[in-house]
Structures are given as C-alpha cells and as structure tokens.
Symmetry: C3
Subunit: 132 residues, 3 copies
C-alpha cells in the first residue's frame, strides 16, 4: 500500500491528484492491473471528472455547496454534516485500470481529491493489484 | 465469496456493518489485499462514513429523505422509486484495503449498509483478493 | 482489458449493458474473481439498479434531470456541466463479483451505462481479476 499527502486550501474544493497516482504506477512498475484509490476521511472523497477546464470542478463544487447547505439544521454538532453527506454521495474509493504501464483514463478524465471540510492536511491510500 | 446477513428495522436507515466485515478479514486470514463489499439489492447500498457520533448517519439519512421524497409522482408503481434513486446515488459497492491483517479505514470511518426500503432481511456479499 | 461499445440515443438515459458484461465473463472463461466496469467519459457513468421494470430507470433519470438543471448558470461554457455533475454523483466505476462463471448480481440488479450528454458513441472498459 502506498500513501500520498494532499494539502487542501479551501473548505470545499477538488484537488487534482492524477500526477500523484501516475507516479505510484510508475514507481511500482505496474504493467497491468488495478489501482484502488481510497480516501480515509469522512468529510472528503474521491471522484473522476474533467481536468482540462477548471470551470468544471468549480461547477461541481458550487452545485454541491448549494444542494447541501452548511447551515441547515443538522443534529451532529461539529458544523460539518454537509461535508459528511457530500462524502457519501461522491464516495470513498475509485478503481482504475492500468495497462501497458499507464492509468487507463478517458481523454478528459483526471482524478480529484474532493475536500468537504478543509483546509486540512489529508491522506490518500493506494493499493495495487498486479496481473500476472 | 462470503455472505453476511443484515436485519434492518426502519424504512430508511444506515446500519453499521464494520464488525461483520472485520470478522471476514479475520476468519479468512487475509494479511494484505482488497475487500469488495457488494450489496445485491436495488433499494439499498453501501457507504463509508463517520461511526463515532450516531447523529452523522441521522443527518445523512434525513438529508436524503428530504431530497428524494417518497411520494413524488414516479412512474414505477411499487412506491419505492425514491429508494432506487438513493441506491444509485450512494452506490452498490465499496473497495477497502487490507494490510497487516486489518481493514485500512480512517480513524472515524465505519462501513454502513444503507437501507432505503426496509425493514427487511438483507444480504451483503464480500469478495477477497489476497496479495501474494 | 476488454472494451465494449455503447450507442446512446438520448441526451440523458440509462442503457442496460448487463448482457455485454456477461459476454465478457463467458468469453474470458472467468470462474471466480472480480470484474471492474469503468466508464472513460466525464459526462457519463455506471450504476447498478433494477432492470425488470423500465420505469425505474425513467424515474432515476427524471429525478436527476430535475435536480441538476441543464440551464442553470454554470461557468463551464460547453452547456454540459449538469452532465459532469451527474457523472461525479453516480460514479465512474463499479466492481462486481464473479462466482461459478457468473456475475453475482441480486435478483433485480442490472448494470446500466448512464449517459448524461448524448446521443453519442461511448466506450466501457472492463478489467478482470481472476482468483487462483
């Protein structure tokens, strides 16, 4: 298992971690197999979406901020229930295929760490399943 | 493949199944690898979120109940379209890393069975991929 | 890795791809293991839900269309931010267990390609992890 560090700078944002994951694939000399990207936080998540135009991540983030208001009447007293809800909707893990030593992503796909309750120092765990 | 049974008691609720999954890891003597948790129902799902304060699962459940109303005008005649929608938003599977014989979860992370149309007797399937 | 082609016919729809995935399991003679279904597009996704009554997929699709309006004021200028948001909410991958040469799905579960910005010619990638 490998671990990467992510520094987030806003309360809610999407941070592109594609290069970090590509570096793991390269360092570990994975030719063919799977990469599991797992976020071990309950107010953060991982998602795959367009990385070319930064407006896409802004639109996704703003939509979720408007859908799940921070100051709605929640029971949990830490003031971050909205971030917990976002984490369950976006999800804690993504599984990506590796072939010929490269992550098999679509043309526009990048991997994003979704921060819901930053800024914080965060971690992402990566497990590798190599095929024979 | 292993199977666990989950008894749900409300129409919509999150049931902590972390101990059940940990028992599988222990029984199967998995040292390193992956666990895939799969929910074979179309009105239920699986999610990972905070397990320390039960108010978090209440906030998540209540948010989804308010967002996706049971009695909205749906075409499907069984009265549970809201639960089908919740299942697709939360998702049918989670993949979790195992290391040194333990599930690698964050400090506050627990694994929850999301019930959308209970109470019912439900199943969860678990597949194990051991690393050499 | 295997690849399947999906032709979508509407801007937003769910296309049942269960048979395509079952054919891969059969062709590759997988007896036991995992199938990872990965959608390499940023305005499409994959989900598992009820396949018996087509009204369920209509209800899910309509709900998302009403929740995430196409013509909301978005920053991304291509007019498909709604589809990018849907893709992150539904998710890019699903992992399904294979046992005795068959996909282990629940009685009502089918695998759907979720199209958010069609009609288009789309691809789905499938990776297979066989157990010894």
């Amino acid at each position: 298992m490998r671990e990467i560090q992510v520094r987030t700078n806003k309360r809610t944002e999407m941070v592109d971690i594609t290069c970090n994951i590509e570096k793991v694939v390269s360092d570990e000399k994975i030719i063919e197999g799977l990469i599991v990207v797992f976020v071990p936080h309950t107010t953060a998540a991982v998602t795959i979406n367009e990385g070319a135009d930064p407006d896409v991540k802004t639109d996704i983030t703003n939509f979720l901020l408007n859908l799940i208001l921070k100051d709605k009447a929640f029971k949990h007293s830490e003031g971050n229930s909205d971030a917990h809800i976002k984490a369950s909707i976006i999800g804690s893990s993504e599984t990506i295929i590796v072939k010929n030593g490269r992550l098999i992503l679509g043309t526009w796909q990048h991997i994003f760490f979704f921060e819901g309750d930053g800024p914080r120092n965060r971690k992402v765990f990566i497990e590798i399943i190599k095929k024979e």
